[in-house]
Each structure stands twice: as C-alpha cells, then as structure tokens.
Symmetry: C2
Subunit: 164 residues, 2 copies
DNA sequence: GTCCTGGCTATGAACTCCCTAAGTCAGAGG
DNA sequence: CCTCTGACTTAGGGAGTTCATAGCCAGGAC
C-alpha cells in the first residue's frame, strides 16, 4: 500500500500548468461525463442494461432501486441519449416500452468494465464469484490502457496535453 | 443512435439466469466499487490526484469543491485505502500533510480514463481541448477492452460467467 | 510571548437522492 | 362496461451531499 512510484499523469511541455487552466469542469471530459452519470442509480441501471435488462420491472428488481428512482433515472438517461424507449408488443399483451442502450450508452461499457475490474480486485478476498471472459477464447476480459499504436501503457507513461 | 446490435453481455450456459442471482450488490463488483466511490466529489478528487494534486488547497481549488466536502471525502478515501496521508516539510514551513494515491487508488486509473474517453467522444463537438497520449510514441491513450490473451474484444463477445 | 498562515473543523441551510406507500392510467380480457 | 395488470406518477419524509461562512489550531517567524 505504498504510494511510490507516483501514479500521476505527466503534463506535456506545451500544456500550461494545471493551476492556470480555465474552470476545469467545462474542459475536462471526466467532469463532463460526471454531469451525465454521477449517481449510483444511473450506474446500476447501465449495469443492468449491459446485463440484459430491457423492461422497467427488470430494472427495478435487478438494480434494487425503487420505482420512482428508476423512472426518473431512465428518463434522464433517455433524454441524455444513452438509452432509447422502444415500443414492443407481446402476443395477447398491450404495447409496452423497452429501454435499449444507444451507441452513446453502450460506449460506457469500458468504464463499467473498469469499475467491475477494480471491485473484483479490491473488494473481494480471492475475487468475485462472477467474472467476464472473452466468448471466443475464454480468457478474462479487462479494461486495459493501450495507445492507438497498440503499446501497453502504464500510468506514468501517460501524458496530458493541450490539443490544437 | 440506433440500438442494434445489442450491446449487452452474454451469459454463459453454466451461469444461472440473472433473476436468480443472490442480492446483486453483494456479488457484483460494480456495486462494490460504487460503495467506495459513488459521489461526484470522490471522482473529482481522484481525477485531481491523477492530475498531480497532493495538497489540500490544490484539491479544493482544482476540483472546485468546498473545504468541508474535500476534508470529508479525503478522509473517506484515506479510510478506504485509496489515498494515504504523508507528512512533508518545506524549508521554513511547518510539517504538513500530502495526500498520495495508494496502489489501490491508482488502480482506478483505467476507470477514470474510460470516463475521460467517453466525455471526450460524446460531450464535446470535435473533441476536448485536452487529451491523453502515450509519452513514448505520442499516440492517444484509451481504456480498451482486451482479453488476457491479447485479443481486442467487442461488447457482444463478452460473456458473464460464474466462477469456481 | 504574539502574529500569521495553511489546514482543516463546525454550523446551518439548500439541494439531491432515495425510500415507502398510494394513486393514476392505458388497454387487453371478459 | 368492468376488471385487472404493468408501468409508471405523486406525496411525504429521511438521509446524504453540497455550499458559504466562520472559527480553531499548530507551529514557524519574530
């Protein structure tokens, strides 16, 4: 549990010091993301969507959240474009609505999976009883840091820089 | 913004249906992780730790949160083992405390980086003005899904299974 | 000793999140 | 038409998170 070496990111020479950045929540993508999903219930609903839930009662039952919270959060997720309401009709039943992840919502999977990894590594003695594996080869799946050239990347090799 | 193909995970044949799982928040690593970091302020403090903040006033200034919230959240993060308080002494100053990420806290970097990626892709027109790149080769860094055998993995290729 | 500064701590109010319990509403079945 | 069910909505309240402001305290400077 030692803190060395530091796990902080580098800052490139052409990027101004962190102190002089403009109000950060407007500029940092992490803050922007947290503006959309910051509550426990939003994460849980997205988790259940990834685990296959589509109907309202599935979300409330599986995420263990109450009806009002589920309704409010699902509406927010739909408004934010992460999910969409799709009507469906089972034979002998009336038309109902399902909630499906959009591409925007599905793109949060790496983040959810990184949280899964962390919880697996640090909050269970010996690992959780469920795991994620590659359906093709059976090897466990992780959210790993990689650069676009395919190199594996460690925290100390990441550099924060100003674009354009 | 179409929802097909589904971005949900598969469930392996030897894993019982989602409905029959035990109370999920005890078993799902994502829920466990959210027990430790679920507030916006916790994420922001971790973000600033990755961006290099170590001192109390740096955290409050950069994460734009008030003193009481920063103090409470930092204490929680220390108690949870994600950060540690380290005394330091500048010449002519009295001893003060710095906050450093532990290995446990630093291990959340992939999750933070996945949130960074998402915010960059979906909340800015044309991308954010800051980016993350590999200090070695200059290519952008992402949190990508990979399996332990090194294959790139898409959402539909991930299988949820019961371990042991 | 007294002053001063950085690092918290205390207080109180506003707001958000979440819960339970009860009510509404559309529409298929009868 | 009436009933029933699933999908919410409404009402009320408790807990958690946040803020602004103010106060405390250790200890180096003097």
């Amino acid at each position: 549990m030692d803190a060395s070496p530091p796990a902080t990111l580098r800052v490139s020479a052409d990027t101004p010091a962190r102190e002089s950045w403009p109000p950060i929540d407007d500029q940092c993508p992490i803050g922007r993301t947290l503006d959309v999903v910051a509550t426990r219930s939003a994460f849980l609903l997205l988790r259940e969507a990834f685990y296959g839930a589509t109907r309202f009662d599935q979300f409330t039952d599986r995420a263990q959240i109450s009806d009002p919270v589920a309704a409010a959060r699902l509406r927010e997720l739909v408004n934010a474009g992460l999910m969409e309401k799709v009507p469906y009709r089972e034979p002998g039943q009336r038309t109902r609505a399902e909630y499906h992840l959009t591409a925007k919502g599905a793109d949060l999977l790496p983040a959810l999976l990184a949280l899964f990894d962390w919880g697996d590594r640090w909050t269970f003695a010996g690992g959780a009883r469920i795991g994620l594996r590659h359906a093709g080869c059976g090897a466990p799946v992780h959210a790993a840091l990689t650069c676009a050239d395919g190199h594996p990347v460690s925290a100390s090799e990441i550099e924060l820089h100003r674009r354009r």
